[in-house]
């Protein structure tokens, strides 16, 4: 009882105290440099969380505490302004200056805290909706980031196929690559947080055998890029350690658009485009194929007659790739509505995207909607809702995995039916599979968050968040019994269903104060709990009596499987920031994570970071130099972790399965080894950087980073006596280090003509510093291995030196300098050597934006150097597989007679199969023209007459092409052609945007 009384007393004093503070009222208007009112500008009393937002007409009103008369005006895209209003008249006009260098302005940091650029001590980069170029016909926003942010690489692992996961690396490879295809290692992807909700990482963990044949789609594609307000990439420990156990690979914060005050605004955009394949592999025509096939047979001991008979005639010529490739159409339509009052704002958007890919039977379509609702109940209490859902339909037939068939056979019989005999008795006719098979996905995704904010006092803000993320995908595969793909099973149907449900809740408290006008202190403390449940189910059946009745219960043999996984975590975190006169900054943060992923005593992990920065430009000696606008030094150090290794990794597990039963009684059997010593990976990040602004038109950021990954987890060979061949262990320590440079420059700034160039560059050096179990663990099937002092993404294999001019056999270099014709000898651990790496060492992008009167041109390029790519070997099998696979035109250069100098061995059916050699390795150095956009905005007088606020038309070319630096002759295939199985495409789009 006494406690309750004390509480009331305290509350009473608090209210009387704060009532006395509110004395001084100020009103005013915020405008942009051309005098147009700016709605949505954040206005804060310095050193407090007391503030407001300007309304549709740019007007605001605010009551100030007696002791503080300094207001801070901030808005994305504009420079932050501080204004002492104590002497001002009660009605102010504040003109915001446009922020051209992106070195100043407001950025979103961890847990949705907005900060001014000059206050940042960590390493982060933010890209706004205007810079994203959302007109691009890409289905997922990560693709828009290619070349835009220093140190971030985006690789399209699926080639030209839309909707597949995109691989994003921030500052290099942050996890040990698994030593085998099915083996486990932790996720390499960054943590994505959408309006406070962590998104589903579909790549994490090992695949369950329940969904073994599932093609995993990219859940992030459900977000419409046009709904994004800003994307922030947190790179170093100071920026990301507050996300703790999942922040090792960096964090990407996505903030979606909120409602704006004012009357109803409508914006609509419609675009349509065409795509064509680029860089497809050049294959042999029928004459060439028959010639090479005959030669192969003759070299393999067949007689002339046998060879002629087996190779067939060259009368028929089917260009298999050409008949399944098309000019693809794409349509993208967006509609958004927004409006609201001081107390309620809302935004509603709808999106439709239909991207055919250049392969018949392969397409990606999505429809979605997103809503933002913002309530201001009072000065103190606010609530925000952001949510949306998306439906996806993807067709996955025609994936370029069965296209290079011999060219001298026809897809059709004489009567026009599909040719399903002879060659196509055992291999599916691609045209028949396109028509007769099914391979499609239907998915539904929704991410929603409700955020509540309460300010009991000027200096305190409490925030709560409840978020839900749901992803469901059903993948249906039907192999028809009418063609060879399903003939042996009498047709086979598999239905794979994946559901991922996640909830998160967090509570944060912020407090800030200014002491003696110079010392600013602020703190953040928070608590977070989350749960993720993944459910998998598969039904499959074979033996279909009717080919067109594709439901499980009609089939003869049916099987069903299911699996389920739960991950929970509870976290506490805090941040403490201090600055002296906006000159010197300190930021400390910490996080304690407890997760169900690890069992036993290592369930908890503690992460922390510290950062310092100094704004030299605030010092008198630099302030006096007029051409230096900004000169800031930052440095930080701290730890983050990676718990995304799939569940139950540390437990010893028993499987329960019918096949373990004995004599009719149930049986259980060990399936996963226990490793009680397995501990969290730690990623220790050091970062130091220099931010420079010069001549009011140039911004430069130079950073050095060094990330030390300790106790990286991988599944490796273990002593067989444990009863297992492989197990999860903390296998190695390694390091990523490099330099990043971002330069933005206003080349021309004028009345009619503006030209801005943004350039970024990053280097990365990856090096293993310690191997925990064995000196060199190497997988001879994948070519991966961990060796001290070398790159984790090195490819190890046999060193191909070319062809013996006398005999025509392939020659490999052994470690004693001698040559051997046998790959299996050269690929022994004793002889293998590093043949390349898949890590680029130098990469970045170059973006130019030119504005001339009503015209705007933006050109985005990206580049990457130092990586290699190991390409598929089946285009060049030297005769081994020529009987059923058409070969690359490069095979025309084969060795034929003694004395021939060539790189392609003598053709023979008996040639040894091999893949891990530098023969199939190409330099993956390129410059890529990501996007070129030309738009024309109609002048205001013109469009106002027809009742519009804005209107523009645009034409655009996406992925115009690559420049590669290999010396492949024009009529041969090189890295451009071999790199992707599914050829990439070049897309031309035209569209119109209107707003009213």
């Amino acid at each position: 009882m006494a406690k309750v009384a004390a509480l009331f007393t305290i509350l009473f004093f608090y209210h009387t105290a704060s009532a006395q503070d509110e004395l001084f009222k100020v009103t005013g208007q915020v405008v942009d440099p051309s005098g147009i009112p700016l709605p949505g500008v954040n206005i804060l009393v310095k050193g407090t969380n007391l503030g407001t937002i300007s309304n549709a007409d740019g007007n605001f009103g605010l009551a100030l505490p007696a002791n503080n008369r300094i207001l801070i005006f901030s808005f994305i895209g504009y420079k932050k302004q501080e204004m002492d209003v104590s002497s001002a008249s009660t009605s102010l006009t504040v003109t915001m200056e446009e922020d051209v260098q992106t070195l100043e302005g407001v950025v979103i940091t961890g847990y949705n805290v907005e900060k001014n650029r000059t206050e940042i001590v960590g390493s982060l980069d933010q890209i706004s909706s205007e810079e994203l170029v959302v007109e691009r016909p890409e289905e997922s926003f990560e693709k828009l980031l290619a070349g835009r942010i220093a140190g971030v690489t985006i690789s399209n692992t699926g080639g030209g196929e839309a909707g597949l996961p995109v691989s994003v690396r921030i500052r290099g490879q942050g996890t040990l690559p698994s030593l085998g295809t099915s083996r486990r290692s932790s996720s390499s992807e960054p943590l994505y947080i959408l309006d406070g909700v962590p998104l589903y990482d579909i790549t994490e963990g090992v695949g369950s055998n329940v969904t073994a044949r599932e093609q995993r789609l990219n859940p992030l594609a459900s977000l419409n890029p046009s709904d994004i307000e800003s994307i922030t990439v947190l790179k170093d420990a100071s920026a990301s350690a507050i996300y703790g156990a999942n922040a090792a690979n960096g964090v990407i914060l996505i903030t979606t658009k909120d409602g704006r005050t004012g009357g109803l605004k409508v914006e609509a955009r419609v675009a349509h485009g065409l795509s064509e394949a680029i860089n497809n592999v050049k294959l042999l025509n029928s004459e060439q194929y028959v010639e090479l096939y005959r030669e192969t047979l003759l070299n393999s001991g067949f007689t002339e007659e046998e060879a002629i008979e087996r190779a067939g005639s060259a009368e028929v010529y089917t260009d298999w790739e050409n008949i399944t490739i098309r000019t693809a159409q794409n349509t993208n339509a967006n509609l958004s509505l927004s409006g609201g009052s001081e107390s309620v704002r809302m935004r509603l958007s709808m999106n439709y995207l239909d991207n055919e890919t250049i392969s018949e039977g392969n397409s990606f379509m999505k429809m979605g909607s997103r809503t933002a609702l913002n309530f201001n109940f009072s000065e103190k209490f606010k609530a925000d809702f952001n949510g949306g859902f998306t439906l996806v339909r993807k067709e996955s037939l025609g994936g370029f995995f069965d296209q290079n068939f011999p060219p001298n056979i026809s897809p059709y019989n004489a009567d026009g039916s599909f040719n399903n005999s002879g060659f196509f008795e055992t291999r599916p006719n691609p045209l028949a599979t396109l028509e007769q098979n099914d391979n499609n996905h239907k998915s539904f995704a929704t991410t929603n968050s409700v955020r509540l904010s309460y300010k009991p006092a000027a200096s305190i803000q409490l925030r709560g968040l409840i978020g839900l993320d749901y992803y469901q995908n059903r993948h249906t595969i039907f192999l028809s019994g009418l063609n060879a793909s399903g003939r042996n099973f009498g047709g086979r149907l598999s239905i794979l269903d994946r559901q991922n449900f996640k909830w998160i809740t967090n509570l944060t408290a912020r407090w800030g104060t200014t002491l003696r006008n110079n010392h600013n202190l602020s703190a953040l403390a928070g608590f977070e709990a989350q749960e993720q449940v993944t459910d998998l189910i598969r039904g499959s059946a074979s033996g279909f009596p009717y080919d067109d009745l594709r439901i499980l219960q009609v089939a003869e043999n049916r099987e069903s499987y299911s699996d389920n996984e739960v991950v929970t975590s509870i976290s506490y975190f805090g941040e403490l920031s201090y600055d002296f006169k906006q000159k010197f900054f300190i930021s400390l943060n910490t996080r304690n994570d407890a997760s169900s992923v690890f069992g036993g005593d290592v369930r908890r992990a503690f992460f922390a970071s510290a950062g310092l920065s100094y704004n030299f430009h605030e010092e008198e000696f630099i302030k006096n130099i007029s051409w230096i606008d900004l000169f800031k030094l930052r440095t930080s150090y701290g730890s983050t972790g990676n718990s995304r290794i799939g569940s139950y990794a540390a437990r010893g597990l028993y499987g329960i399965d019918e096949r373990f039963s004995y004599n009719g009684d149930p049986g259980i059997y060990p399936t996963t080894p226990a490793n009680p010593d397995l501990t969290w990976e730690r990623n220790l990040k050091f970062n130091t950087g220099l931010d420079i602004g010069l001549f009011d038109r140039m911004g430069l950021v130079i950073e050095y980073y060094r990330n030390d990954i300790k106790d990286a987890i991988a599944q490796i060979d273990v002593p067989y006596e444990s009863g297992f061949t492989s197990g999860d262990v903390n296998a190695a320590d390694f390091r990523n280090q490099g330099i990043e440079l971002t330069l933005s420059y206003d080349i021309r700034r004028g009345e009619n003509f503006n030209w801005t160039a943004d350039f970024n560059l990053a280097t990365n050096r990856n090096e293993i510093t310690a191997v925990k179990l064995k000196q060199f663990d190497f997988n001879p099937n994948t070519g991966t291995g961990y060796r001290i002092g070398e790159d984790v993404r090195n490819i190890y294999g046999a060193f191909y030196t070319g062809v013996d001019p006398e005999t025509g056999v392939a020659l490999f270099l052994l470690n004693d300098g001698s040559l051997d014709s046998l790959y299996r000898v050269a690929n022994d651990p004793e002889h293998i050597r590093r043949i390349g790496t898949t890590n680029p060492t130098l990469f970045g992008g170059f973006t130019n934006t030119l504005i001339y009167k009503n015209w705007q041109l933006s050109i985005i390029t990206s580049y990457s150097f130092g990586a290699d790519v190991l390409v598929s070997n089946f285009y060049e099998t030297d005769g081994r597989q020529i009987s059923f696979l058409n070969q690359s035109v490069n095979q025309l250069d084969r060795w034929q007679n003694p004395g021939d100098i060539t790189n392609t061995p003598r053709l023979s059916l008996e040639n040894e199969p091999y893949r891990l050699t530098n023969r199939y390795l190409y330099d993956d150095d390129f410059i890529r023209f990501e996007n070129i956009l030309l738009s024309y905005s109609f002048s205001n007088q013109l469009i106002r007459r027809i009742g519009l606020d804005k209107a523009n038309v645009f034409i655009q070319c996406t992925n115009l092409g690559y420049i590669y630096f290999d010396d492949t002759p024009k009529d041969r295939n090189g890295v451009a052609e071999y790199k992707n199985r599914f050829p990439e495409s070049r897309t031309f789009t035209a569209g119109i945007t209107i707003g009213f």
């Binding site: 996984e565 739960v566 067989y720």
Partner: protein
């Protein structure tokens, strides 16, 4: 600082949620953790079932390997000549006594996999509180007998026999009584230590096991039968004989008569002659595939004339050899593992006739030749009632016992081990063409298998067998 109401609310909320530590205890849903799998009697018995099934879970152990390896290397079987490169690969290296690379033939890992599942059961027994002492003893006894069987098999396949050195101090295997950690690199112990562990486990098992009449699991009778074989390998003759006595005198077991002999090879193993069989519920890896008893399927392994010529026409065992014609040719196959429509063949591990021959050999070595001859004649005349009673002594008697062992126990996984412990040469007259090492002169490192490459690279303390 002033404490304010919402802060209190916040703090209490944190405390409430944080107190739910259970929230972080997430058990796997499709598998169960090792602790949970072994914390009550029912789970423990399921784990024991899993261990039995583990013996036949893959072709690398009892489902196939243990049944053909000693017979193709010893000369009872050969590889069908026109078998394709791929299909023949697992057998050729063994047959040819040629290890090109120490490849990934992971019998070793497979055997340790089962051993660990057995050890998990044994080590969990003290924690079981929801069953009677008798029930727990039964499970423990079966598990100990299984552990003995696996250690014994590892010793036979990967180590030279007990009598290779006078005190059996030569390298044996890694003996395990508990599951090692993933990074624990253990060393081999001597053959003597290995056999001591096997004997200890079997003696414990005999004292714990009930006197049941089940043939698909270990009971007291089958543990004694196995121990008689172990003592035979150790040349502990009198202990071999006394254990064999106990088994043979047991009323639950008896030799079937000559006319029923072929019928016991039906999968049901009719009659009381089978002492221990391992059931295989899989529809793959069946012995009938291997030996060609699946209708229309060509055999992989065929019977040699070396073996066939040992049998007279009146010998009932010759009826288990059949000539079959296929498109590919005519082959002699063994019908010991007839085709089973719905399941794999059960695997015979211990049979009473072996116990007679164990005792015959022990008596012969103990110079009690009448008793030895009595047992030998029992087996000979059971197979061929028209055969004359033999009277032999000394080495002739031992030779004849060896020959009878080969005839009686062919295709059941004995021959190479018996050759090796009797210090006999491998002589394969009916040998696959092109094979260099048809014969081996005793002693030779190739009488035993090398440790696979992965085992050596995974455990740096594992010393490879000499010669490899």
């Amino acid at each position: 600082m002033k404490v304010r109401f919402p802060n209190i609310l916040l703090i209490s909320l944190i405390l409430i949620i944080a107190s739910c530590e259970d929230f972080l205890d997430q058990e796997p849903r499709s598998e169960i953790s090792k602790e949970e799998a072994l914390d009550d009697f029912l789970s423990l018995s399921f784990a024991l079932n899993g261990a039995y099934n583990g013996l036949v879970l893959s072709s690398l152990y009892y489902a196939e390997f243990m049944m053909y390896y000693p017979d193709i290397t010893g000369g009872n079987l050969k590889i069908r000549q026109d078998l394709s490169e791929n299909a023949g690969e697992p057998f050729r290296e063994l047959y040819n006594f040629q290890v090109a690379e120490l490849s990934d033939r992971d019998n070793y890992e497979e055997m340790y996999e089962v051993l660990n599942s057995v050890n998990n059961v044994i080590n969990a027994v003290p924690n079981i509180i929801d069953a009677s002492q008798e029930e727990v003893d039964g499970v423990l006894g079966e598990a100990l007998a299984l552990r003995a069987l696996i250690h014994f098999d590892l010793l036979r396949v990967f180590a030279q026999p007990y009598n290779y050195t006078s005190d059996a101090s030569h390298p044996g295997i890694i003996v395990l009584t508990e599951s090692p950690d993933p990074d624990e690199e253990l060393t081999r112990s001597s053959v003597a230590d290995g056999y001591n562990q096997v004997v200890r486990d079997l003696e414990d098992a005999i004292s714990l096991l009930p006197n049941t009449n089940i043939r698909a699991r270990f009971n007291q009778l089958s543990a004694k039968a196995l121990l008689s074989r172990v003592f035979l390998y150790m040349e502990e003759w009198s202990r071999t004989a006394s254990l064999a006595n106990e088994v043979i005198n047991d009323s639950r077991t008896a030799l079937v008569d000559s006319s029923s002999y072929v019928m016991i090879w039906d999968n049901n193993y009719l009659g009381n002659e089978i002492i221990l069989k391992i059931l295989n519920n899989s529809n793959q890896n069946t012995l009938s595939d291997l030996f060609g008893t699946v209708p229309g399927e060509v055999p992989i392994l065929t019977v040699t004339t070396d073996y066939e010529n040992l049998l007279t026409d009146s010998d009932v065992r010759s009826r288990l050899i059949q000539e079959q014609s296929y498109d590919e040719g005519t082959y002699r196959i063994t019908t010991k593992y007839p085709y089973q429509n719905l399941s794999a063949n059960a695997v015979p591990v211990l049979r009473l006739s072996e116990i007679y021959l164990n005792r015959a050999e022990a008596y012969a070595e103990l110079n009690r030749e009448e008793l030895a001859l009595a047992d030998l004649n029992t087996i000979i005349q059971r197979a061929d009632p028209s055969a004359e009673e033999l009277i032999l002594s000394g080495q002739d008697l031992l030779n004849r016992i060896f020959e009878e062992r080969r005839k009686e126990l062919a295709f059941e996984g004995h021959l190479l081990f018996d050759l090796n412990r009797n210090k006999r040469d491998v002589i394969r007259s009916d040998c696959n063409p092109g094979v260099i090492n048809c014969n081996l002169a005793y002693p030779d490192y190739r009488y035993i298998q090398p440790f696979p490459l992965g085992a050596i690279s995974g455990n740096r303390n594992l010393v490879q067998n000499e010669g490899y």
